[in-house]
Symmetry: D3
Subunit: 156 residues, 6 copies
Amino acid sequence: MSRLTHMDESGRPVMVDVSHKAHTTRVAAAAGLVRMKPETKALAVSGEAKKGDVRAVAEIAGIMAAKKTSELIPLCHPLPISQVEVRVEPVEEGLAVAARVRTTGQTGVEMEALTAVSVACLTIYDMLKAAEKGMTIEAVRLVEKSGGASGDWRAE
Amino acid sequence: MSRLTHMDESGRPVMVDVSHKAHTTRVAAAAGLVRMKPETKALAVSGEAKKGDVRAVAEIAGIMAAKKTSELIPLCHPLPISQVEVRVEPVEEGLAVAARVRTTGQTGVEMEALTAVSVACLTIYDMLKAAEKGMTIEAVRLVEKSGGASGDWRAE
Amino acid sequence: MSRLTHMDESGRPVMVDVSHKAHTTRVAAAAGLVRMKPETKALAVSGEAKKGDVRAVAEIAGIMAAKKTSELIPLCHPLPISQVEVRVEPVEEGLAVAARVRTTGQTGVEMEALTAVSVACLTIYDMLKAAEKGMTIEAVRLVEKSGGASGDWRAE
Amino acid sequence: MSRLTHMDESGRPVMVDVSHKAHTTRVAAAAGLVRMKPETKALAVSGEAKKGDVRAVAEIAGIMAAKKTSELIPLCHPLPISQVEVRVEPVEEGLAVAARVRTTGQTGVEMEALTAVSVACLTIYDMLKAAEKGMTIEAVRLVEKSGGASGDWRAE
Amino acid sequence: MSRLTHMDESGRPVMVDVSHKAHTTRVAAAAGLVRMKPETKALAVSGEAKKGDVRAVAEIAGIMAAKKTSELIPLCHPLPISQVEVRVEPVEEGLAVAARVRTTGQTGVEMEALTAVSVACLTIYDMLKAAEKGMTIEAVRLVEKSGGASGDWRAE
Amino acid sequence: MSRLTHMDESGRPVMVDVSHKAHTTRVAAAAGLVRMKPETKALAVSGEAKKGDVRAVAEIAGIMAAKKTSELIPLCHPLPISQVEVRVEPVEEGLAVAARVRTTGQTGVEMEALTAVSVACLTIYDMLKAAEKGMTIEAVRLVEKSGGASGDWRAE
């Protein structure tokens, strides 16, 4: 593993300086899963869940959360998002969530994409918990990123 | 699976009425894991991560996020939290996060505990992503809840 | 018109004291309208608007805004909402918005209901403005309220 | 009516991509009215309303709300506002509200101007509702906009 | 000095449990000062400052900040404020700020009163900094508190 | 004292236009002090305070508050911060707080640095108030700024 440069010697929190970085187009995609019983998934997909249309509410919650990322993550830089898309789709194990975020700025949008996915997953849990409390949020991860000095990256 | 009562016939979003519910003490505990390489975990535990002391920052982020739950989750009721604790501990696969939330109110605090865990996990990712982009957030789940009309519940 | 009691003699802003008021169930309903061309309304109802399903997004935006009322209105008291419902329906002149909010607290929820309606109307405008910039938000008003010392009230 | 391009085929919410748009100066002006009885208006103008100076508080609320627009409107892009002005003036039917917002960015500030007007109107209602619950918020509309690819626009 | 009880043995952050505390009326008053040159004070009092009426804007900012206290102070409990008053008055050394906050709840409102004072002072600085950058915020302190298990307290 | 230009003739609040200003690197440093008894300081430094590690929590609170500045200060422009550092250090009279903020934008970051210091001071008060209610926040001030049309400035 590469040793970290620019480390703050005292181990104290710091929002690192990005003022020297280039303004480039940066994209990040993240994904996650809410694992649930088939009956619970059926309820979500049928639109009969207690609190309304699970997928639509979760997608909107994810988009709005992407805009709140720097408020939630203490050392994350605020940045002007130029696009967010969040999709909730049924898969065999439950509901899968995918998010894609784009910006033109000095830092990447990995955290925005991961935050969108996490909050969409939490919203799915909230809307279905009357039916199944044992659902789990799993495999929340970065899928790929592009742009920025550290170059492109894609999960294996 | 139990059929849902009080369902809104049209499938549209609704923040359900809780005004008839009793004000009781309610507690919820949730947990999650950020899976990472041993070298990344060593970096976190040593306090040498680029952005500061990972565990302290993530614990504070989790506590603050619990207070923002009803802002993030569209149909979640606001409620006055009377206690929050978030702990980040090294385990074999990476860093484990646990949260416990307590309130005296008309709805449970499951979402507050799960939100605290999720945001603490996201913060851990943010602080260590310079070292490892492939970390995953896993097994975010409710561990137990007590209080309220639906009674106590504990994950199997 | 009744002279106002408890007026702050200096004309300066004050969040008035409600600590002596009883905790009672309070309900308020508000309504509003976004006036638009028939073609624009058709676009909204068909679900073909550029940014997605207009009605679902506006309803969720209204619910979330109700929870932010005391952040937006400077002298408004924060209070724990126990229910919110926002409905967007097509009417002859465009899209009508209705909101109903309930709480058990020391102040009424008129502002929460009006804020939910206003933000739902703004969201409708946002989602359809690519089609028609000349839409207008009209007749945002309290429809009825109940509970509290000032008694019940209903618009004529 | 012009067919919408770039429509998301599935009808699901999306914060549309603006990363290809030019950074230009954009201005938007919006207006609205709170209709009230002459006695209520007199109370507002005299500075004797229960909660303080109605016009000053409403103007500040409108300015602060403009900065919160992207938090309130789900699919609205965050953008750095470079100027906001909100004015509340007595007119025959009640209190008129006007807002002007300017930015240098990739999207227009119509929503910021309309949000400023709406929240200023809501604040006026809040400060005067002890005197008249039947006030209505009317004619909230875009007055003009300039800048951006879609060109200038002015209400007829 | 009294040894602290209930201390978290590990030195980690915790929002302490208040669920066993009584719901009582609690009041806190705080004060502060922005020290400035006589010419700057004259500018503020005359209403000729660049950004508008300094005192009115600072008072409103203080009231709104009181409602945001638990968002700003990590381990502070959210609580429903029932009254806030903030006053800015000219004194010999500059502008003095005083705040009084009241609630019926399980924790005191010292932090709400101090936050209101601090943000009102910051707002005064912001509105006058074009005239004098060397102003200082001084003597921000609790003046008195009443209610709660720890009893009444008054600064000497 | 220099007469203020661009003054709004009516004395009403305005977020002044900065759209003509250059995008330059701007830095501001601010400082403050929480005065306390030696025993209280000892408690803070030993890590034995009731709510956790005072210095780490206050530093994080200060960083997060810098990002909220334009939400708290009514006429302050939002701007994308590129770096924040907050340090809490023991000094003879208590705990000293220093903040440094950097941006590339059209307005300075004086308010961001002062807000970071103020909220860090409030957090210190919150975490130690169980031990000493009479602590005072003092000498919150701008230390230096650079960048922007008004040039560099340094406190005497």
